[in-house]
């Protein structure tokens, strides 16, 4: 097997364009997952039993079924009941929903790590529950969660390759198209792999750095 550098360079622009969509999907999915994960975590602690049960079973369901199944469901099944979502949005929705269930666990652990005395001090000062969350609990809970949440973002970044199956023209899909039409898979797939590494290695290093900082501050 030989690696054709000229061919690799020639397909690079197309692959980079595909990669831009990969990044869009990751960013969109992460924003959704971060917000929804927090919402799940808050709902799980709610006084309202119905809300707790609903959010608990939803996040359980999202974690117990494969992402691929969720993707197919949103893109191929929902249209049968009249809900048609463009591929990229369907992808973002599936990625966001799926990770939100995992992220809600990170939020839960982080929130539980805030000492009980903080809640009590806020209540004694007559903070409204919303103020307690916003001013006291979350500012303490979130910084230590950043590394764990970041790891889920990196995981999602890699899982965007699955969006190829719902026709999203992200990097992997582009590579496959190139392969299908030229019968040369080695170069485009290798380039895509390298592009993934170029992004994920620095991100992982940054996360490790943040993690160390958070631990130092805690000490």
């Amino acid at each position: 097997m030989t690696f054709d550098f000229d061919f690799a360079l020639q397909v690079l622009p197309d692959l980079v364009r595909g990669f831009a969509i990969t990044i869009q999907a990751t960013v969109g999915g992460s924003v959704l997952a971060l917000a929804l994960g927090l919402a799940f975590a808050l709902a799980n602690r709610s006084e309202n039993r119905l809300l707790r049960v609903c959010s608990g079973s939803a996040s359980e369901f999202l974690r117990r079924t494969p992402l691929l199944v969720q993707l197919f469901f949103i893109f191929y099944v929902l249209p049968d009941v009249g809900i048609v979502i463009p591929p990229i949005w369907a992808g973002i929705l599936a990625l966001g929903l799926h990770s939100s269930a995992y992220m809600s666990e990170v939020y839960r652990a982080g929130i539980e790590a805030v000492p009980k005395g903080q809640w009590e001090a806020a209540l004694a000062l007559n903070y409204h529950p919303v103020q307690t969350w916003r001013r006291v609990i979350l500012p303490q809970a979130i910084p230590p969660m950043v590394p764990a949440l970041g790891n889920y973002v990196v995981l999602m970044f890699k899982e965007t390759a699955l969006l190829a199956v719902i026709t999203v023209p992200e990097a992997m899909n582009t590579a496959r198209d190139i392969g299908n039409s030229t019968y040369q898979y080695t170069e485009p797939v290798t380039v895509v792999g390298i592009l993934y590494l170029l992004i994920s290695i620095p991100v992982v290093l940054a996360l490790r750095f943040i993690e160390r900082r958070v631990h130092q501050e805690a000490a």
Binding site: P115, E120, A121, L123, A124, L125, N126, H128, Q131, R135
Partner: protein
């Protein structure tokens, strides 16, 4: 869902064990005499099956300085936490300024207190904790300033000025921009006192506020308490193991044991001539442990 019945109302419980207690409606209508600011009426407190307070009744006059003493586990902290609404009760009722804490009157009926009612009642009370519970992500100044702004709606400038004045009073003005982690235990506790005072409570609760401190830091905190006692007419309820301080500071001392008030009196009387065996044996143990009374 307002639980309107004429004969009885339910003791409410948001957290913890939610056993239901009932008390006669008629009793709740009895007017409080004017000088009673706080009244505990036949309080029952249980954690599961563990009875922590039994039939505890207590009234506190406006401006009174009251100390609670007693062995570990006797329920002193619980009394303060109940008044601060950090704990619910399974029986009895609490009254502040002639109004029940967990209930309010609507159309001549006592119904479960709304959040507004609870917040109005809670606003009269401040608490200082054994372990300070300062907000670690805020400076000393912000710890004192933020609650005034977001709870009382004071403008930032006014809240900051107030905070600096209070920091001055507790001798920590130059530490205004330090975070709790950069302060000693005694300093943290003085900031916590300032934070509670900034909310202008009518009743202050102090739960063993020096017992988490190194011995050499105790006095600086007690001095702040002395100063507050001298200069303010707040009602103060103090749980303490410092008998000398309780004696000098309080108008009245309560000795608790096993979830009941065993004996109460003026400090001189209670410390020098206790009438109950349990009080005597507690004080003997305190003296044997090296404290002077």
């Amino acid at each position: 869902m307002t639980g309107k019945t004429n004969l009885s109302i339910k003791a409410v419980g948001g957290t913890g064990s939610s056993q239901v207690a009932e008390f006669p409606y008629r009793e709740t209508r009895l007017a409080q005499s004017a000088d009673k600011q706080v009244e505990f009426r036949s309080i029952e407190k249980r954690y599961g099956h563990h009875q922590v307070l039994s039939d505890l009744s207590l009234s506190i006059k406006r401006g009174e300085k009251l100390s609670l003493i007693g062995p570990s586990g006797s329920g002193k902290t619980t009394v303060l936490r109940i008044l601060m609404t950090l704990e619910t009760i399974q029986g009895g009722s609490i009254w502040i300024d002639g109004k029940p804490l967990w209930h309010e009157e609507r159309n001549g009926q006592l119904v479960k207190a709304s959040q507004q009612h609870l917040r109005r009642q809670r606003a009269k009370i401040g608490m200082v904790f054994q372990h300070f519970n300062l907000f670690p992500h805020m400076t000393a100044l912000e710890n004192i300033s933020q609650p005034q702004r977001i709870v009382l709606g004071r403008p930032r400038v006014e809240a900051d000025v107030q905070a600096l004045e209070l920091l001055d009073m507790v001798g920590l003005r130059e530490r205004a921009h330090h975070y709790p982690a950069q302060l000693s235990g005694g300093q943290k506790q003085r900031v916590a006192i300032a934070r509670a005072l900034a909310m202008k409570p009518e009743i202050m609760l102090f739960d063993e506020i020096t017992s988490a401190l190194d011995p050499e830091l105790v006095e600086e905190v007690l001095n702040v308490l002395r100063e507050i006692g001298r200069t303010s007419d707040m009602t103060m309820l103090l749980v303490t193991h410092e008998m000398t301080f309780a004696k000098e500071f309080s108008d009245r001392v309560l000795f608790m044991d096993g979830g009941r008030i065993v004996e109460e009196g003026e400090p001189d009387q209670l410390f020098s001539a206790p009438t109950q065996d349990r009080t005597r044996s507690f004080l003997r143990k305190i003296i044997a442990a090296g404290q002077r009374i």
